[in-house]
């Protein structure tokens, strides 16, 4: 029995490289995003010049159904740059209806979180909306686990779904449990999106997320519901709403509901000035006082933002942004200038 098994393994070891040689080696595609910002502000936060994240993507199709995607960042800190693995996704496409993957993702609980995330050149403004900002982790930004996705054709629309199970939030709620789950309670998520084929860029969707999150005062049952509407042309409209429902399992404090939403409206000017895109955005966070997960992280917040993006190159943009932020303390106005770029070698195998 053992000899048969060893023989089979040996034959595989000998034959597999020969079979692999008959096919072309996989092509590794690299994409890099970067940015630099100048900020002057009334708020008591660091201003002046700053580098944003430097983001590198590696993308390779190992065979027609199996692909690997990896994303790493270098984030500037006070005394150094912090390297981080942001995403690693190994995906097997059974067909259009079912694509299975395992890894670390941008959590599909927010449109902005998955559509733009670290890709500053992709996003239509300098900063992320506060409800999905890295500094106010109302939602789990990353997700480590298993995901099933698919697309179902339905006449003039495509219906897309995702469903997943993973470690969920940890004691440090911004972390997805890269080395294992703190409380042996898995998070589950699911979502539906409907994308129009005729009205280019129109997408509506809703997502739900459920987890038991450890906290110093005991576990908290968390349910997040979110919905979005997106229109890309002729106006760019991105709007999202999310409700975070936190219910501590111990104590008599009852549940906490935090609501957050934003509406972003931009417009690409007519052909003679098509490199310019002005935009405005309204952001709002209404936190539930006393939520044990957020503590002082999520504060009552409202902001008006106006900006102008100038795509002075095919792969780089200069954006000016005015922000008027209203917080219980340290509110004020800010002015930002940002250059963001992408280095793609990805549009085809040149």
């Amino acid at each position: 029995m053992f000899r048969t098994f060893a023989g089979a393994v040996g034959a595989l070891v000998l034959v597999a490289p020969l079979a692999a040689q008959e096919q072309a080696d996989p092509i590794v595609r690299l994409m890099v995003f970067g940015e630099a910002t100048y900020e002057t502000t009334e708020r008591d936060v660091p201003d002046g010049f700053s580098l944003g994240q430097l983001v590198a993507h590696l993308n390779v199709a190992l065979d027609p159904r199996l692909s690997v995607f990896a994303e790493g960042t270098l984030t500037p800190a006070a005394t150094s740059f912090n390297p981080s693995i942001e995403r690693v996704i190994v995906r097997y496409d059974v067909n259009d209806l079912l694509k299975l993957s395992v890894g670390r993702y941008h959590t599909p609980i927010s449109y902005w979180n998955t559509a733009f995330h670290h890709g500053s050149w992709l996003q239509p403004s300098i900063a992320r909306p506060a409800p999905v900002a890295f500094s106010t982790p109302l939602i789990p930004i990353h997700f480590l686990g298993l995901l099933a996705e698919g697309a179902v054709p339905a006449g003039p629309v495509t219906v897309l779904y995702d469903a997943g199970v993973g470690n969920g939030r940890q004691a440090v709620i911004s972390k997805p449990g890269d080395a294992g789950d703190d409380n042996q309670s898995r998070a589950v998520l699911g979502g539906l999106r409907v994308r129009s084929l005729r009205l280019h860029g129109v997408e509506v969707g809703a997502h739900a997320y459920s987890d038991r999150v450890p906290s110093p005062s005991g576990d908290v049952d968390e349910r997040i519901l979110s919905a979005h509407f997106v229109l890309e042309w002729p106006l760019q409209v991105i709007s999202e709403f999310m409700r975070i429902h936190d219910d501590p399992r111990t104590g008599a404090s009852g549940a906490f509901d935090t609501d957050a939403w934003y509406v972003h409206v931009g417009y690409r000017l007519p052909p003679s000035m098509k490199s310019l895109a002005p935009y405005v955005r309204w952001e709002r966070i209404e936190p539930a006082a006393g939520d044990p997960l957020f503590g002082g992280v999520a504060v009552d917040y409202e902001a008006w933002i106006a900006g102008l993006r100038w795509d002075f190159s095919r792969f780089a943009a200069l954006t000016g942004e005015f922000r008027d932020e209203d917080l219980p303390v340290d509110d004020g106005q800010s002015l930002l200038l940002n250059v963001a770029f992408v280095i793609p070698n990805l549009i085809g195998d040149r």
Binding site: N59, R65, I89, D96, A115, L122, V342, L346, G348
Partner: protein, 162 residues
């Protein structure tokens, strides 16, 4: 009077009568963009919605399970302009950003393969299982497999890609 000149006159008149229609059809044929697929692709006709779904990579597999390989002509070609306008509804910049975003979201492992001539498109679509591409209808060779769009072939009245 000989009958031969009368026959010749009738033939000339018939040719003149047909000329405008033939000319219009020839013009439509010359400006139309044909959609070409690999011989094993299980389609003979696509609706515009199906075509958009494929070119937008919302559909990445044919019905027989073969992965679709999208071949797109490099910028500046008139047929690319027609495809960007009629299928994608995007400008050149929006098209580029669309694929950067699609790859950034890990929705596709790669963007379209770029081809630099109709000959190259034709050779690759014949060689790569699951491939689909487009080219001027007048440059389609005898070995290429043209797909009907909304039930129509290039040059027919109502063909949507022209």
């Amino acid at each position: 009077m000989s009958i031969r000149p009368i026959r010749a006159s009738l033939l000339a008149a018939a040719l003149l009568a047909l000329a405008p229609a033939t000319g219009a059809r020839a013009h439509a044929q010359s400006t139309a963009v044909a959609i070409i697929v690999h011989k094993d692709a299980p389609v003979t006709n696509l609706t515009m919605n199906e075509l958009r779904r494929i070119f937008l990579a919302d559909q990445q597999f044919w019905g027989n399970g073969t992965r679709i390989t999208l071949l797109v002509r490099a910028p500046k070609a008139p047929e690319r302009d027609i495809v960007l306008r009629r299928i994608y509804g995007k400008s050149e910049d929006e098209f580029r950003q669309y694929w950067v975003a699609k790859i950034f979201r890990a929705e596709v492992p790669a963007g379209p393969k770029i081809v630099y001539s109709s000959d190259m498109a034709q050779e690759l679509v014949i060689a790569i299982p699951g491939a689909i591409t487009f080219m001027p209808a007048g440059e389609v060779g005898p070995d290429a497999r043209v797909v009907r769009i909304e039930g129509k072939l290039p040059g027919e009245t109502g063909y949507p890609l022209q």
